[in-house]
């Protein structure tokens, strides 16, 4: 049985050495006085080397490139859809009052723009939608916190709130008209009934998903109950809360349109829903389709300009983004 040998493969020619002066082991460490400074230096170098090996350097694509990569596919798809629609109108020659082409719809929108109805409707609806949503946040957030921390309240109110989330908020419109008449209060009431349960439930879900270990860490670090909530639990629950906010906005916007279509006249201003209802009364299909497209476009724009950047930042900071971003 040969002695153990160490083979240095790095050298130009392999050398064989017997490990007679093996620097490991206690006896040699005791024999040779250790030099702490030297040892610390080599440890530091080792750690730095390992750190460099274990962390990947990321190269991110330039901003314009990401913008094009994100925007190009949907834009191309929309262009193709409109082209197909126009081709159908040209080839099949359907009745324009039953099946208007893209040009008819554009013309109807242009007319609405010139008369100022389109601008009025968009500003009125957006103002209500945003204001209603903000009020819903102001109510839904404390409600969610209360539900998450107060077990009894949650057992009592939780099922009711989930039920409200399922109930289409349009169902409230007739009752709201009787209570508040044809006024802005009716619109806001319906919007709140749609958005508040989503926001509160989103926050509760977010808080439920906070890993218990994070709470333990907060306790170990000496956090008071209040500090635990503000420094650990709420920040950890933000992704769930944001999901609730997104859903809350969607419900606000839908409820608003429904309320504007049904509650028409009185002191209620002229919103996109009212414009849609007006098109119906005038049997103006091009105008109705154009309004639908405007409502859709506003939803997309809000998602892209408000929620998507917040969500991307939130997830990226936590390392929760997949390979595609």
């Amino acid at each position: 049985m040969p002695d153990l040998v160490s083979v240095d493969r790095g050298g130009p020619e392999a050398r064989l050495e017997t490990p007679a002066t093996d620097p490991t082991g206690l006896e040699t460490a005791a024999a040779r006085p250790p030099r702490p400074a030297e040892a610390a230096d080599s440890l530091n170098a080792d750690l730095r080397g390992l750190d460099a090996l274990q962390t990947e350097r990321r190269t991110s694509r330039p901003r314009w490139r990401r913008l094009i990569d994100g925007a190009l596919p949907p834009v191309v798809l929309i262009a193709l859809l409109i082209a197909a629609w126009q081709a159908y109108t040209l080839i099949a020659q359907p009745r324009p009052d039953l099946s208007p082409g893209p040009l008819d719809v554009a013309a109807a929108l242009g007319q609405a723009w010139e008369s100022g109805r389109l601008q009025l409707a968009v500003t009125t609806s957006l103002e209500r939608g945003v204001l209603g949503f903000l009020i819903a946040i102001a109510i839904g957030t404390p409600l969610g916190l209360l539900l998450a921390e107060w077990r009894l309240l949650r057992r009592a109110l939780g099922p009711l709130l989930s039920g409200l989330q399922v109930l289409p908020s349009v169902a409230w419109v007739p009752a709201a008209i009787i209570w508040f008449g044809l006024s802005d209060a009716t619109v806001y009431f319906v919007v709140l009934m749609g958005a508040v349960p989503s926001i509160a439930n989103g926050l509760v879900a977010g808080i439920d998903q906070v890993p218990p270990q994070l709470r333990r860490v907060g306790t170990v670090l000496g956090a008071s109950r209040w500090q635990l909530a503000t420094a650990v639990v709420v920040p950890a629950a933000l992704p769930g809360y944001l999901a609730g906010l997104k859903q809350g906005w969607a419900f606000s916007w839908r409820s608003l349109m429904a309320a504007e279509i049904i509650a028409f006249g009185g002191t209620i201003g002229f919103g996109l829903g009212s414009m849609l209802q007006q098109s119906r009364d005038l049997a103006d299909l091009a105008g109705a389709l154009g309004t639908i497209l405007v409502i859709l476009a506003i939803g997309v724009v809000i998602e892209l300009l408000v929620f998507a950047p917040i969500e991307r930042g939130l997830l990226r900071r936590r390392g929760l983004t997949g390979a595609n971003s």
């Binding site: 490991t24 082991g25 206690l26 006896e27 460490a29 005791a30 250790p34 040892a39 610390a40 440890l43 530091n44 080792d46 750690l47 730095r48 390992l50 750190d51 274990q54 962390t55 270990q213 994070l214 333990r216 860490v217 907060g218 306790t219 170990v220 670090l221 000496g222 956090a223 500090q227 420094a231 650990v232 920040p235 950890a236 933000l238 939130l314 900071r317 936590r318 390392g319």
Partner: protein
Amino acid sequence: MSTITAARSAGRGAPPPAGRGAPQAGLEPRPPGTDAPAIRIAGLGKRYADDGPVVLEGIDLDVAPGQFTCLLGASGCGKSTLLSIVAGLEKPSSGTVEVADGGAAVMFQDASLLPWLTARRNVELALRLGGSGLSASARRARALELLEVVNLADAAEKRPHELSGGMRQRVALARALAQDRPVLLMDEPFAALDAITRDLLHEELQRVWRETGRTIVFVTHNVREAVRLGQRVLLMSSRPGRIVREWEIADEGPRRIESPQVGTLSIEITEHLRREIRRNA
């Protein structure tokens, strides 16, 4: 001394006196403490339910200030439970635990960093929640100092998901040091790391221990790790968890996990560990 008893709520005891909260200029070793032990455990027992199995029984233990103690045992023997009780996260069913003034900092098996904060902000959070009384800019400077101690000054602005497992544990170590408590409890902190990283972190931990003079209780199921690190190795039995045997290791400067002495003692301790496990067959 803050006391944790079975009767009383297992808080961290009295808040640290004003003097202790003040930041240390550097990390110079603490003066050798008085003769009072840093941790004193007397007649401690634990069961989770009144009719449930006994998890810990009759544990008596004094840990001297500045001592590096390794708590060794098979999985499920209650060593982590014992650590949680000392940390004040759980209450004992009987007996008392006293921890030196200032209490204990804890490191877990996973680094448990807050994922939305950078390494520096994670350390700053410990300074803020621990009531260090520092201004925001002083906390920032102190956090960078502590990250320097664990060789991570360059990674201060990175978030946990950008760091390797070993780096995250070092941030957790810096955070535990930020709490500036005399006792540091470590619950298998390196168990999830690869062998190369673990080896380097053993060295790093020993260096930090020598520089700061903390009292360390290190829980592990790895015999060699215990012998490599500890001045004192305590072997726990399972069901019920008791301390059945202990070894003192003369501290003659840094030792390596490969050294023959570590190997010899590890073999002896493993024999005893196996015997304890066999008893449950």
